[in-house]
Structure formats: C-alpha cells, structure tokens
Symmetry: C2
Subunit: 260 residues, 2 copies
C-alpha cells in the first residue's frame, strides 16, 4: 500500500456525514500531510464552491485548501474549456456551478448557448427546464454535472441531479454527458491536477456506484470504506471489487503503520 504517491478522496460518507466528521477522517488527512503525500478531494456536489467546501472541511477539523477541491461543477467547466475554450453556457444550478463557469471564463447566457449545463438546483422550475429543452432542441450540447439519482438527507432520499436531468433528456430524447463520478472525466481532471500517473494514485470512497466505480473506470486502485452508503455485504456480489476494503480509515492507518 505504501507505493501510492497521491490520493483522491471522496467527501460525503468518507470525510463527513451531513454536519459531522467521519471517524478517522481528520487523522487520516493529517497523516497524509505529515508524510507530504499530495491529495485531492472529489465531490459530485455541484452546489458549493471550492472555497465553501474547504471551509466546511476545516470547520470539521479536516485540513484542506480550496485548491485541493475538485467539484463536479469545476470538472464540468474545465471539460467545456477543453472542448472549445470559453463558451456560452446556459446553466441550471446553484452558486458552485455558476462560480465554476465564471472562473473558467465561460459566459452565462439565456439565449443561444453552445452548452446547456445542469447541476442540482433547489430552485428548479418549469421555465428553467423549458429553456433548457428549447436550447437542446436548437442544438446546444447537454452536459450534466453528475448522474446521482437520489441524495440522502434527514428526511430520506430526495431527488438528485440525475433525476432532474431526466426531464431534459426524456423531453428532448437527448442523452446527457455526465461529468462526475462514476464517469472518468472528473477523475482525469483531478489526476492531471495532481500530476501523478493513475497507477500511483489511490481512490478512496464509501459509495461503490460512484467513488469505487469511478476509480475502477479510470483504471485506478481503490479503497472502499464502510462509513457511508455501500456495505461490504452488498459489494460482495459485484463483478469488479475494490482493491482494498477497510471498515474505516482508522483501520487502514493501523494496518499501514504495522506494515511500514
């Protein structure tokens, strides 16, 4: 395990659950810092800016700089730049997505966009969806920050961005390009930012269908923890297994220290 030179780390269910830190999260990140091992945090959450995410981590006692954050919104903005440079974008989404587009030099427009981009939007309405559908029918490319169908909250599982995106894809008959985990687009961008080959980087997360699958899809080794969504029992039956499975990151550090 000690041959990994850098780490990609999921947030929700791996570093925190709601407003509480996950057991061992702070210790693990501090350990990486002590060892001067580079790392980045990856989140499908498109609603927050990198600064907001870093602030939250710091508030929970987890060291993080905003440059160590890659949100699905940032990955989306970078992807569009790679495709055709600064672009006209019609956005459905929240501050994190608008901010990411702006920082990457894209123009947020209401008319004649090159891209329609959708991320989670708690102020979604019929007019926003209508405009998105009309733009896509007029030839704009449809990009969605992530395909999450549902988000766990205290109330239960509420609609995720993948569910909102389906209004546009079903109405127009156009499949969206998804950017976030489990797609490899967000992984490739995080790896590029880290500057290490993928075989020297370990992907860590709790959700098999997003985090672990993203690592597998990107051709990386993966470490699954059981502190969030997926259970080892559930994952047993899947064809592609995580490289490592640890109940939590404390167990991982204990075993790592014994081996070191």
């Amino acid at each position: 395990m000690s041959h990994y030179k850098a780490y990609l780390i999921d947030l929700d269910g791996t570093m925190y659950r709601g407003a509480k830190p996950v057991e061992g999260a702070s210790e693990f990140v501090k350990y990486l810092e002590t060892k001067h091992l580079p790392f980045m945090f990856l989140t499908n959450n498109s609603s927050k800016t990198a600064v907001q995410v870093a602030d939250k981590l710091n508030d929970l006692g987890i060291p993080a700089h905003y440059e160590q954050i890659m949100t699905s919104s940032m990955a989306t903005a970078i992807y569009i730049s790679q495709q055709q440079g600064p672009s006209k974008v019609y956005v459905i989404g929240e501050q994190g997505l608008r901010d990411a587009m702006f920082k990457e030099g894209h123009e947020l427009v209401d008319d004649n966009p090159d891209f329609v981009v959708i991320g989670i939007d708690h102020n979604i309405n019929y007019e926003k969806l209508t405009k998105a559908c009309l733009h896509v029918r007029n030839g704009a490319a449809l990009i969605s920050t992530n395909a999450d169908r549902a988000i766990p909250t205290e109330r239960g599982m509420v609609p995720g961005n993948g569910a909102l995106t389906s209004v546009i894809s079903v109405s127009t008959g156009t499949e969206p390009l998804f950017i976030g985990k489990p797609e490899s687009i967000i992984m490739d961008q995080a790896l590029a930012r880290l500057g290490y080959d993928r075989d020297r980087v370990l992907m860590i997360g709790d959700n098999y269908h997003t985090d672990i699958s993203a690592g597998i899809n990107a051709g990386m080794d993966t470490l699954m923890v059981e502190t969030g969504v997926s259970s080892f029992q559930e994952v047993k039956s899947y064809e592609k297994q995580p490289t490592y499975k640890y109940k939590n990151l404390i167990d991982w550090m204990i075993e790592k220290k014994q081996k070191d």
Copy 2:
C-alpha cells in the same frame, strides 16, 4: 363507416390548434348532433377542468357539454376510485387535476398518501418533487396522468408531464402507471361512460402515438386526420395502421355523405 354508434374525439390537433378551431371540426360535431350520435372528447391535458374544456370548445363554435369531456385527470381520479374507493392523494398538478380528485371524493393530503399523482404543473418545484419521492419510497403508488414527453407551443416543444414524471421514477426507481392516451385506461372509462361496445365506437385523432395508438390498444377502429402532429407519410412505416386516414374531417364527411 356508418355502423359506428358513437365517437371518441381527440381535442388538440383534431378540434383545435392552440386558440384556433381546426377546419371542419365544428361542422363534424354539429353533424353528429344532428344524427343523434353520442360522442365524447378525450384529452391528455390534465390542467383544465371539464367545464373549462367545454367552454373553450363552445367559444370556438364547437358544441360540447362538460359531461362530454374526459380528461386524463378525470380518468385518473376514476381509476383510483375503482382501485380502492375514496383515497388519500398527494397531487402535483394544476386545477384540472385537483378538481377531478375532489369531485371523485378523494382527499388531497400532504402526508401519508395512498397515491402520488402527477399531472403537468407549471409551478413545479423541488419541494413538490421531494415530497412525491419520499411518499413513493414510503409505499404510495405512483400514478401519472399521461406520458407526453413534450408539448407543442409557440416557443417550440416544451416539457410534458411524462418528462416531469421521470424525476420521480428515476429518483425512486419506481415505474409510474400512466392513465392517458395511448394507455387503454382512459379509453375504457370513456367507453363505459358512452355505454357502447368498443366495436361500435370510432376513435378519431391526429396524433399516431397517443390518439391512434390508444384506439388500437383498446381494440377499437381508428380514424386519423392530418390536421395536427402526425403525417400519413410518417405513419406509413408503422406496423399497425389506422383503420381510416382522411386529410381532415371535411373529407370524411364528404365521403360519408356519398356513401350514405
């Protein structure tokens, strides 16, 4: 053609387009009245009440009584009654749907519904969709007035109720029961109201995928007119053909008079 004892007639594209009557619509309906041939109008539009629909027809010079209207909202309310009598229903939709539920004796509730019902809602928002998802995950049955993916407007094709419904079905992994055309549920209810066997009733409409398919699915003869969405050219390649094809209802009346 003269053996039909009653008629089921689509509205949008068959009787009117937007705010204008379709050529021959008024003459055709007046002809049925003169001949004392019973008829009903069928619409997937769930937003209007029967009275509002009848008023619109009358304003366009087309004779219609509200008891001759069957909307997908009414068919949904009746279907729920048939399943388990007066029920607790959580509704996403507009006046036509709420009114239909109320008239059928159902209780509109925010908590613990037996059914989640969705129809087109121009005031759709995240909270409504969230509640619907939570109720479905708690066991409420999911019913959607119709599966229309897009609605033609002056602005272009805008999201239909089938597209809105997909937020709930994608997020919860629950397939909805659709009531409106091309499903046979709305057809069965209209036939029951008319009181004629299906082989004595002709279904008339412009949209192959809703009107004509509904007639075919219900085991009825169908008459397709080319005054709305579908063209004869497009329909040529389909396996199941309409029983009759007439450019418009004027042509149908001319031929009918020649044969009578």
